[in-house]
Each structure stands twice: as C-alpha cells, then as structure tokens.
Amino acid sequence: MEKNQSFTHDDHHGFPWKHIIGFILSLVLTFAALFVVLSGALPTTMTLAAIVVLAIFQVLVQLLMFMHLNEHEGAFQTISMAFGFLIALAVVAGSIWVMSFGM
C-alpha cells in the first residue's frame, strides 16, 4: 500500500541549487512588489492586483523550493495546502464582502 515516493535526489550531494534559485526568485519578487508600490506607476486597483499576484508567485516558489511540498505524500500534502488556501480565500473574500454593508 505504501508506494515509495519521489525525493529530490539531487539534494543529497552537490550544490543546493533549488534553495538558491528559490532565494533569488523570492528576493526579486519582493523588490518587484515594493517597486510597484513605491513608484506609484499603476492605478490603485492594478497595484493591488500586481502585488497580490507577486505574493502568490513567491509563496508557490517557497512551497516548492524551500518546503519540498511535492515530496513524499506530495499529493495529499498539496491537497491539504490547496484546500487550506481555498478556505483562506473564502474566509478573507467572504468576510470582507459580508461586512461591507455600507455602515
């Protein structure tokens, strides 16, 4: 019943490429978001959309590159995270919507 799982065998020896790429990507995405905001180049809604998209990318980078999300029980772990983020979205968007009745 226990199928053996995918490990990133390049992690055992040699250079930690995944981590370094993940780190650099995260830095780039962080500064990109900061730049979008500080430059004030885009209208408000687009700025917000941009930084959210950049945040989501960075989170995916970190989940895959730092946290090895897809290792071992990758399928169940990914489902767990995905469902968590789905509920998170429902909670955040839902709450803002429900509570926005123009007080």
Binding site: D11, G22, A33, Q77, S80, M81
Partner: protein, 205 residues
C-alpha cells in the same frame, strides 16, 4: 506497528522519511500547516476589514516605514533560505553543517524579532496601542501572532539543535529538524502575505 519506531528501513533516501513514524509525523505536520493557513486567514480577513477603522487614531500611513519592514522582510527571508541550507546539510548527514546553518537561521530570526519588538514599542510610543482602534487591534494581533509563532520557533529550533548535538543525525533527529524547518519556512510564507497585505497595502490604500 513494529516499523514505526526509529529503525531506518531505507539507507539511501532522506533519513527523516526512513521510518513509518517519521513519515506520519511529517505528513501530520503538513495537515497542521493547512490549519494554520486558515488561522492566519481569519487574522488577515479581520485586518483588511478594519483597515480604515482607525477611530481618529494613527493610520497605516502614519505608522509603517519602508526601511523597517523591508529589513524585517529580508531578515526573515534570508533566515528561511539558511534554514533550507540546513535541511540540505541534513540530507548530506553533515551534523556540523546543520548546526551551523540553523544557528545562522536563529540569529536572523532573533534579528527579526528584535526589529519587530522595536517597531511595536515605537508605535505604542506614538499613541498607537491595542485599544486605540479596531485597526490597531487587528494589526497587533495579526503581526503579533506571527511574531509569537516565530519566537516559539526559535525556542523549538534551539531544542532541536541541542538534540542534534547530543544524539547526532538519526531518523528521529532528522525528522525533528525537518519539521522545525517546515515550520520556519511556513512562517516566511505567511510573512510574504503580511508584507503584501499589511505593509505594502498600507502604503497604497
């Protein structure tokens, strides 16, 4: 149940997955992280709903400073990277390497906490307390809960480092080190959202 305790059944793969017990604990921790995602989402929901509920008190624009939150971000991100390097050394079965990178991770983490404590103290000094407004209540609880998680993580990481020092790298200590690493990385994932939805949004909206 005889394979669940610390007898490695596979010598080539990462040690933390070598026992059934290790596999179950790591998987269980991922499930726990799913719960933590929802926990933080509630804190974010309330924070965003109360963004402008400042009750005449200090606002995000009044308080947040780019230099401060950028440094916090870089400290935590770097610590997540160094923690990852620790896991890499763990898989190379290099005890000294693991301890070195975890120590560096800890120091960056302490730096992060130090800056955050200073940030809170400064805000309080400017009259921005937990009971000033709903906005501030939610700011302190969101960022404070994250900070409390990091502080707990620091203590946890120290405990794991002590055990690595005492017992070396075996399936049990490898699993513990891997899990505290997962926890640490997760806290940086949450911070990406805090950086975005709290600090950057605070400059925009």
């Amino acid at each position: 149940m005889s394979e669940t305790h610390a007898v490695a059944t596979e010598s080539r793969g990462p040690l933390e997955y070598a026992t059934k017990d290790g596999q179950m604990k790591i998987f269980g921790f991922w499930v726990f992280l799913g719960a933590e995602v929802v926990l933080f989402s509630c804190l974010f929901a309330v924070y965003l709903a109360y963004l402008h509920h400042t009750a005449g008190g200090p606002t995000a624009h009044d308080l947040y400073e780019v230099k401060g939150f950028l440094i916090e971000t870089l400290l935590l991100l770097t610590s997540s990277f160094t923690c990852g390097l620790g896991t890499h050394e763990l898989r190379r079965r290099n005890k000294a390497g693991v301890l070195a990178w975890l120590l560096i991770t800890l120091l960056f983490g302490l730096g992060f906490i130090g800056m955050e404590v200073k940030e809170f103290v400064d805000y309080v000094g400017e009259g921005a307390t937990l009971s000033t407004s709903a906005f501030l209540s939610s700011f302190y609880i969101l960022v404070g809960t994250h900070g409390a998680h990091v502080s707990l993580g620091i203590l946890w990481m120290i405990a794991v480092m002590i055990q690595l020092g005492l017992y070396g790298i075996n399936p049990v200590t490898a699993r513990k080190a891997f899990i505290v690493g997962l926890y640490w990385h997760f806290l940086d994932v949450v911070w990406v959202f805090i950086f975005t939805a709290v600090y950057l949004t605070g400059l925009v909206l």
